[in-house]
Every structure is written in structure tokens, then in C-alpha cells.
């Protein structure tokens, strides 16, 4: 069991392993999303306060969740890469960043669209989560900008790992400070937390798990690309490319 994980740290093994992950995560993920979307849109009963607009939750919450999970992976990957010098860990960070940024963007836009009928405005600075999510987007951009401005891969890995770790601390601080700030200027509507009926909650879980699975599949694909590029001069890549199947 331990050897299984141990072998995974080696790039050629991970490259092959990730190839199997993609369909095994992707297909169940898509099925769950299809179910969750259908149930969320048509089966779940209408919300008392928000009417049908609350159905945006089935897209907004998974997106926001993934935006934070991707950042955690970037930070943890960076930390593991710095401490244990695992190049693969750095590759995970590099692969996760664009995905995380995309989902952060999705969370922001769906949050804004949801806000329009609820608060009457496209943007609400007073909402702590919306503002924190915007700062998260800036953090992603900063990370990707730093990576692309350093030519040497190892240096870029380490620098962006430091940035990601500092950013994690900052995300927590930002969230609390914006909450304090919005409590000062009260009266802003925060997204309703409250309890949900089962027929509303089940599609949400389906969407959450489904989106996480397809995120895993997309991430696996991007990590494979990272590995391929970083190891392009090694012997195993040469053999892979020259072999008849090639494996995409």
C-alpha cells in the first residue's frame, strides 16, 4: 500500500496513473452533475424567499468551493515541494492555478448574477464572501504572473510556493477582516445560509461531488502535461514518445 503511494511520486508512474484517473473521475463526475443539474433545476422545490433564483446555488456553491480547494492544493503542493523537494508537488500547484482561477471567476460572475435579483445590484462590496472571492482571484493572477515571469522552472516553483503559502494566511485574514467590515456597514444581505429541505440539499451534494470529480479529472490531465514538459529531456519520455502507442 505504501509502495503504491511511494511509486506515485515518480513522474513516469504518476503520468500513467493519472491517465487512468481521468475517465474514472470524469465520467462519474459528469453523471453526478447531470443528475444534480436536472434535480436542482426541476425537482427541488421553490425557495420561500428567493423563488427560483436560488437555483443558482447549484452552480455558485460548487464553483466557490472548488476555487478554495484549488488554492489549498496550490499552497499544500507548494509547501510539500519546498519542504520535501518533490518536483511533482510543484507540478500540482502549477496545474491547479488556471483551474482555480477559472472557478473563482465562475463563482464571482454567478454570485454577481445571483445578486442582481436579490439585492438589486450587480455588485455588493458589503458582502464578505464576494469581496474575499475577488481578492482570491487577484491571488491567483499574482501566482500565475509570478510563475510566468521567472524563466527557471525550479526557481519559479519555489517562489510561487512561497507566494501561495503567504496567500493562504492572507485569505483567512481577508475573510475575517471583510466580515468585520461588512458588519460595520450592516444592512447588506449575505447569502442566506439557513437550513435546506432534503430535496434541495441532495442535488447540491450531487453537484458538489460531481464538480469535484471533474475538477480532479481536469487537474490530472493538466498535471500530466506539466510532467511531460518538465521531464521532456529524460529517458522515460523519450521512450514514451518513440513507442508505438505514444499515449497522447
Amino acid at each position: 500500500m505504501w509502495t503504491f503511494f511511494h511509486k506515485l511520486a515518480s513522474p513516469p508512474h504518476f503520468y500513467r496513473f493519472a491517465a487512468t484517473l481521468i475517465p474514472w473521475f470524469g465520467i462519474p463526475g459528469l453523471i453526478l452533475i447531470a443528475y444534480g443539474a436536472y434535480a436542482g433545476l426541476f425537482v427541488a422545490s421553490v425557495d420561500y424567499q428567493q423563488g427560483d433564483a436560488f437555483r443558482i446555488i447549484y452552480v455558485h456553491v460548487p464553483a466557490a468551493y472548488l476555487s478554495m480547494m484549488a488554492y489549498m492544493m496550490m499552497a499544500v503542493g507548494g509547501g510539500i515541494g519546498l519542504i520535501w523537494r518533490l518536483k511533482l508537488a510543484h507540478a500540482v500547484g502549477a496545474a491547479a492555478a488556471p483551474l482555480g482561477a477559472a472557478f473563482t471567476f465562475l463563482a464571482l460572475v454567478t454570485g454577481s448574477i445571483w445578486g442582481r435579483p436579490m439585492w438589486g445590484t450587480w455588485w455588493e462590496w458589503g458582502d464578505p464572501r464576494l469581496t474575499s472571492e475577488l481578492i482570491l482571484l487577484f491571488l491567483y493572477f499574482g501566482y500565475m504572473a509570478l510563475r510566468s515571469s521567472i524563466d527557471d522552472t525550479a526557481k519559479a516553483d519555489k517562489a510561487s510556493a512561497v507566494l501561495a503559502l503567504v496567500g493562504v494566511v492572507n485569505v483567512v485574514i481577508v475573510h475575517f477582516s471583510v466580515e468585520w467590515w461588512s458588519s460595520l456597514h450592516q444592512g447588506q444581505t449575505v447569502f442566506k445560509k439557513g437550513t435546506m429541505d432534503a430535496d434541495m440539499r441532495i442535488p447540491l451534494f450531487a453537484m458538489l461531488i460531481g464538480f469535484t470529480l471533474i475538477f480532479g479529472a481536469m487537474l490530472a490531465r493538466r498535471i500530466r502535461t506539466e510532467i511531460l514538459y518538465r521531464e521532456r529531456r529524460t529517458r522515460w519520455v523519450k521512450e514514451l514518445v518513440l513507442s508505438p502507442e505514444g499515449d497522447k
Partner: protein, 232 residues
């Protein structure tokens, strides 16, 4: 019982030495101190020009404008924190020095704050007056700026270390520092607004103080790590 063992200099010796050096260098280049100050004053001037000089608007927006101006001015000055040392090679010397790098970094950051942060605090009452800020609120403003500029110098040093020597480092530096600076700005400006509105503002001061202490103890390590990475 041989020759006396030579004492290694204590860590504060290094910190003070490097802070003195940076202060001396800045003394010879008054522009380093004056430019951020002028920038601060200019930004404070631009706002009323843009949004109109009505009295309530000024008093209402004063804390926010002054704080944003201070933030932008600090951002500009952070660029030069490691730049000249990087260019003439002294940064490499710092990296191989037997003194612990976080301490040396702290020394540089303290000097940087004295050069660019402290003057902002001292000149802020003058500009706050143009925003019709009452004297007691000015006191709160100065306190928040004092704590806040310390935070900004420390947090900003991390970004400066990550981007030292990079092509187009300045723009990247601003992008990196913005999320770090956001809580400081929030806490600082809103604490002053609370004071202006005669409400309880102690929470903000405590939070800023805590943030400053945390930054003081942790940021130098992050900056040192970033410096080593940038200069491999």
C-alpha cells in the same frame, strides 16, 4: 586556557548596522524620502479635484482617501527596497553573511519604514486638515497609519523579495501586494471612519496592532526565504 575566543557579534549588531547603512544612503538621496511624500500629497489633492470639494463629501471620504494614498505611496517606495542592493551586488553579500538573514531583512525593512512610512504618518495631519478632519480623529488617523505602514512595509518586503530583479517587477509587485495590503487598508480606513462617526473604534486599533506584531515576527522569515529563492 588559550587565547580568548572571539565573540560573534550579536544579532542586533547586524540589524542596527544595516539599518544605519540604509538610512545613511537615504540621507544622501533625499529624493527617496521626498518622492513618496509628494506622491502621497498629490493623490490626496487629486481626489477633491475629481469628485468636487463639498464639505460633507470631504469629511466623509477623508479617512478612505488618505489611507489609499498612503497605501499607494508605500507600494511605490517598496520597489526600491532591494533593488539597489541587487544591482550593485550587496544583496549577495547579505545572503552569505553569517548574520541570520531574517534579522538583516528586518533591519532593512525598519529602515525602509523610517524612510517612507514614518514621514507619511507625520505629514498626515496636514493633509487631513484639508479634508476637514477634526483633531481627535486626526489622532486616530495617525495611530492607524503608524501601525498600518509598519504592516505594509513588512508585508510588502515579501513581495519585493519575490520580484527583485524581475523584468517588469514593479507591476507584478503591486499585483502581489494588493491582496496582502487589503486587510490593512480595511482595518485602518474603517477605524478612522468609526472614530469620525463617534463610534467605538478600539477593535480596529487592536486588530491593526495584532497584525503589526504578527507581521513583525513572521514576515522577515518569509522575506528571507523569498530572497534566497530569487537569488539562487
Amino acid at each position: 586556557m588559550g587565547a580568548p575566543i572571539p565573540q560573534q557579534p550579536g544579532i542586533f549588531v547586524g540589524l542596527i548596522a544595516i539599518a544605519r547603512r540604509d538610512l545613511l544612503l537615504a540621507w544622501k538621496r533625499p529624493g527617496d524620502v521626498l518622492n513618496p511624500l509628494f506622491f502621497f500629497a498629490m493623490v490626496c489633492t487629486l481626489f477633491p479635484l475629481a469628485v468636487g470639494p463639498s464639505a460633507e463629501q470631504l469629511t466623509f471620504s477623508g479617512p478612505g482617501v488618505l489611507w489609499v494614498a498612503a497605501l499607494l505611496s508605500t507600494l511605490l517606495s517598496l520597489n526600491g527596497l532591494f533593488m539597489s542592493d541587487h544591482e550593485d551586488g550587496s544583496l549577495d553579500q547579505l545572503l552569505v553573511s553569517p548574520q541570520p538573514l531574517p534579522v538583516l531583512v528586518l533591519g532593512k525593512t525598519i529602515a525602509h519604514w523610517i524612510i517612507s512610512g514614518l514621514p507619511l504618518v507625520l505629514i498626515s495631519p496636514l493633509l487631513a486638515m484639508t479634508y476637514r478632519m477634526p483633531a481627535d480623529v486626526m489622532g486616530v488617523l495617525m495611530l492607524t497609519l503608524l501601525l498600518g505602514t509598519v504592516c505594509l512595509s513588512l508585508l510588502g518586503s515579501i513581495g519585493a523579495a519575490l520580484t527583485v530583479g524581475l523584468h517588469r517587477g514593479t507591476a507584478l509587485l503591486s499585483l502581489l501586494i494588493l491582496p496582502l495590503a487589503m486587510p490593512v487598508l480595511l482595518l485602518g480606513a474603517n477605524t478612522v471612519s468609526l472614530a469620525a462617526g463617534n463610534e467605538v473604534y478600539a477593535t480596529g486599533i487592536w486588530a491593526l496592532g495584532a497584525y503589526a506584531v504578527a507581521a513583525l515576527s513572521l514576515a522577515p522569515y518569509a522575506t528571507a526565504a523569498a530572497l534566497r529563492i530569487s537569488n539562487e
